[in-house]
């Protein structure tokens, strides 16, 4: 789960990590009022949950008070990578002596947290890592001990020549690690971390991603969720225990298991079709789950055929068949359904579907080809 910069900064501030003076605004007059309070010049920053907002024109400086309203008006309502900007952050303009990068994330390969730092801050850190890897400092953290003071200090001394500043950095990095662990983050990032004209360290930007698997033990994170950046149907699916992602094709898919669901989409494409969605019905599936899955898929008007591909393990094929029949009874489904049900209780599923108009196939390739052909006929 991603949160906005202003939310991440509030958390930083609570943790004792210094941030600039700033205020959130949702309308131009509000932005003007914020600028008056903070003092000019100010920087106006679009709050959207995608990267690259600076390049998209979502971050602008305002020198004069009368400019604040007009610039705020330009940024609010702007569309950045498909997301509408509804909030902006009015931030104090800070004199910058140097810019650094500081982040903590999980290194999948080493299976432990890593602290990443660089003197080349303020730019795309992945670019820096690719082009000039020698500018990146990477510290492996023993998860049983946590980030050790000497590790943080060594990074501080590598980045900052002054002993006092290195000490300030050490304290800041340790706070950031504590935050990473306490709130079950998958990423905390300060880019840039700046050395101000006044000679102190300040988090000019802030990014926090939470581990979705750990949200159940962090009820405090629920209020930070921005539902406007999520597809409503994806939320409905999630609530029903399904995993759904809308795509642009016309072959609707219902599959059990994420890997098989992706492989099914790939095969649709390989045989000349376009998947309309990714949908994983998950493990133990009830007929009700199938009914919800069918409703979600059919609400997409571009769907011309539904392909059901189930390799039953925990999932029982007769539950799937039952769900298909129930869905057909509850709504007048016009699009053809192709079902390939193998594994647990497949024979019972076949018997259930024998008298229905559902087209069946035993091999995955056969089912996909059939579905693609039907989708083409219907266009």
């Amino acid at each position: 789960m991603k949160i906005h910069e202003y939310q991440a900064k509030a958390i930083f501030s609570d943790t004792g990590i210094p941030v600039p003076r700033e205020k959130l605004a949702t309308a131009p007059p509000e932005a003007k009022k914020a600028a008056e309070e903070i003092g000019l010049p100010v920087v106006l920053k679009a709050q959207v949950l995608v990267g690259g907002r600076g390049k998209a024109g979502g971050v602008k400086k305002a020198e004069k008070l009368e400019d604040v309203e007009s610039i705020a008006g330009q940024i609010l309502g702007m569309n950045i990578k498909g997301l509408e900007v509804t909030k902006l952050l009015v931030s104090e303009c800070v004199a910058i002596k140097a810019e650094f990068y500081l982040g903590i994330t999980i290194d999948r390969a080493r299976r432990k947290p890593v602290l990443i730092a660089s003197a080349a801050g303020g730019v795309d850190i992945e670019e820096v890592a690719k082009k000039t890897p020698e500018k990146i400092i990477k510290i492996e953290i023993n998860p049983l001990l946590g980030l050790l003071p000497f590790q943080a200090r060594n990074v501080g001394m590598a980045l900052l020549s002054e002993a006092k500043l290195a000490t300030e950095f050490t304290s800041l990095a340790l706070k950031l690690y504590r935050l990473f662990i306490q709130r079950d983050c998958s990423l905390v990032e300060i880019n840039p971390l700046v050395l101000t004209g006044g000679g102190t360290l300040l988090a000019l930007d802030a990014k926090i991603n939470f581990d979705d698997n750990a949200l159940f033990r962090h009820p405090e994170n629920e209020s930070l969720r921005d539902l406007s950046s999520e597809e409503p149907k994806e939320i409905e699916a999630k609530n029903a225990g399904l995993s759904y992602i809308k795509l642009s094709g016309n072959v609707g898919c219902i599959v059990n298991g994420a890997g098989l669901a992706m492989a099914t989409m790939d095969l649709i494409k390989r045989f000349g079709g376009e998947p309309a969605n990714f949908l994983d019905v998950g493990g133990s599936s009830s007929p009700e789950k199938m009914v919800t899955a069918m409703r979600i898929i059919l609400s997409d008007p571009s769907v011309r055929v539904i392909l059901v591909n189930i390799f039953g393990g925990i999932t029982r094929c007769d539950d799937i068949a039952q769900g298909l029949i129930q869905a057909k009874n509850e709504a007048d489904i016009k699009v053809p359904i192709v079902a390939r049900l193998v594994g647990t209780n497949a024979d019972r599923a076949c018997a259930l579907l024998a008298d229905s108009p559902v087209l069946s196939a035993t091999k995955m390739s056969e089912a996909v080809k059939l579905a693609v052909a039907r989708a083409k006929e219907a266009e």
């Binding site: 581990d211 992706m262 989409m265 990714f278 133990s284 999932t315």
Partner: protein
């Protein structure tokens, strides 16, 4: 031979009294797995499917000499369950539970290393050595004893691939799990398969996200002499979306199917684009 599990496996089921735990205990027993004990705190003294239930892993190990554990407890308690198994001296822990917090997995894996314990998963279908032992939730009908080693990040896709090994069957099939942080990697399994005389060919089933496949490819190039086949799911996945598995996110241009296929190809791994092509390819190489 086979890897990880066989006739000598004495299995303990953690979370045996739960719905999934009880059901799969029955399925594993029916398959012939030697399930010797179950653990659910507070339910010691009961029997589930003829298996004695204990209050703690320590008690269960003392009474039954269990040497492997499979975990079905809910996500919030799975990290603790893994640690309990490790501290009781269990050397193989298969964690089926989905949705385990990443930091819990990180911690458990770090402790496992210091105790020389192997963790498979979390969020995995388990391990099966067909005809010998099934320590997992996979449907028995998809597997046949044979000589192909399969290692996969997926669940049902693993069954699909295994079912397409045709007359060659499988030595062992390992579902390593779909989470970003897992106890056993492709490389760990490749090493074991390379050293297992019964395994004649290896199939790697990967998916988008991370760079485990790329590292596996490097390993294959350097150490593996047996024929290796590769399948990658998620060629049509849009970037930045979590495709069901927590690990399956392509972000910032890394972890794409294309990059993984390229890495496989340059390591001499035979790419399978359609699961059903596997049988023919095996015939050509074995």
């Amino acid at each position: 031979m086979s890897i990880l599990v066989d006739k000598n496996t004495r299995l303990l089921v953690q979370g045996i009294t739960g719905r999934d735990g009880a059901f799969h205990t029955r399925m594993m027993k029916e398959y012939g797995t030697n399930v010797v004990a179950g653990v659910t705190p507070g339910k010691g003294g009961q029997e589930i499917e003829g298996v004695p239930v204990f209050n703690s892993v320590e008690q269960a190990v003392k009474a039954t000499d269990a040497n492997a554990s499979i975990i079905f407890v809910p996500a919030g308690f799975a990290g603790d369950a893994i640690l309990e198994a490790i501290f009781a001296g269990i050397k193989l822990v298969v964690c089926v539970t989905e949705g385990v917090p990443t930091l819990d997995a990180v911690r458990a894996i770090a402790v496992a290393r210091t105790h020389n314990t192997r963790i498979v998963g979390p969020n995995c279908p388990g391990v099966i050595s067909p005809g010998k032992a099934k320590v997992g939730i996979m449907p028995a009908s998809a597997f046949q004893p044979g000589c192909v080693g399969v290692v996969s990040r997926s669940g049902t896709l693993t069954y699909e691939i295994a079912a397409n090994t045709g007359e060659f069957g499988q030595s062992t099939v390992v579902g390593i799990g779909g989470d970003p942080v897992i106890g056993t990697s492709f490389i760990d399994c490749l090493k074991m398969f390379q050293d297992d005389p019964e395994t004649k060919a290896i199939v790697i089933v990967g998916e988008i996200g991370g760079n485990d496949e790329e590292r596996a490819a490097e390993f294959v190039q350097q150490y593996v002499t047996k024929p290796v086949f590769g399948f990658i799911a998620g060629q049509t996945a849009p970037p930045d979306k979590r495709m069901g598995h927590a690990g399956a996110i392509i972000s910032a241009g890394s972890g794409t199917a294309e990059e993984k296929i390229r890495a496989f190809q340059s390591a001499g791994i035979d790419i399978i684009y359609e699961p059903e092509q596997l049988t023919e390819r095996l015939r050509a190489k074995l």
